[in-house]
Subunit: 160 residues, 2 copies
Amino acid sequence: MTEAPAKQVPTRNLESWIYFLRSHSAITRELSAQLQREHGLTLNDYEVLLNLKHAEGGMMRRVDLAESVVLTASGITRLLDGLERAGLVCKETCSSDARVSYAKLTDEGAAKLREAAGTHLRGVEELFLGRYSGSELATLAELLSRLPVTGKVASETCSA
Amino acid sequence: MTEAPAKQVPTRNLESWIYFLRSHSAITRELSAQLQREHGLTLNDYEVLLNLKHAEGGMMRRVDLAESVVLTASGITRLLDGLERAGLVCKETCSSDARVSYAKLTDEGAAKLREAAGTHLRGVEELFLGRYSGSELATLAELLSRLPVTGKVASETCSA
DNA sequence: CCGTCATAGTTGCGCCCTCAAGTGTAGCGC
DNA sequence: GCGCTACACTTGAGGGCGCAACTATGACGG
């Protein structure tokens, strides 16, 4: 009881936070259900495939992949297990560092991605992008880009 | 091969979508971990408790609660199971309709919510709210409010 | 060469949540 | 009153994912 700090954060703008939470749940549930039904992929599966496609040589280190989709190391392991079993990615070892193993997009994976892209982009368009004008999207992107993308607290991570 | 539709959605503004996905994962993971560590609650637990607190008489129908936090019926059942076991909510029956049962915030639940609020609001402030000015938050809220909050596609749900 | 520490990845365990199916009640037309 | 459909809720099965603990390598100082 050394000091009772005055309530700093009145309910006023929690509004945007609530919208953020709610809309994310609703949208990702719907998109994931679509992908699952029509192509047997989860949203994260799709994002991983997409990241691999854009990567140099169609392959990435598992740890980098994990960061790019905001998953833990164990999460990416299991996700890739699934994609491997489905034949959409395969493992590659690294000649210079025996610790790392790459995940590489297979031809089937690339095909699957192409196949799913139509459905998915349509969904994203309908549930997200289509609700904004071009400039609004730019605004939104700028605002959202300020949010953290790692669990680390910013004040620690990017101190001067 | 009847027709190869021209690519409708160039990569241009998927940017905001990607930020949306990534930041949500990162922020909710961190906030959930905080709540879990310090109070044994998940983010959804917290949101449910909060909704109950704001509700008339501290109680809501399970189905309404489900919608308010964007969970399925079964999801809310299991979540409330946990909160009941922890003594934070209790069941109430409805005299006029035997199908519905209410979830009611207990005193312990209210106390727990109060206890967790400090931690949580600080977290939300740091990871989300604190990154914007007041007017930016208003903009963000307006933009996010256009997104769907149910799985139902808007074109069906809110046709004129 | 050897301890020490950091890093890449995997695995056991457990939670959360969804889908599909099932129960019990309400309301309605007949 | 009797089916029918609608609704609120629960349950069984299963998948996704995080945390903590563990293995295997690499890097570095002594």
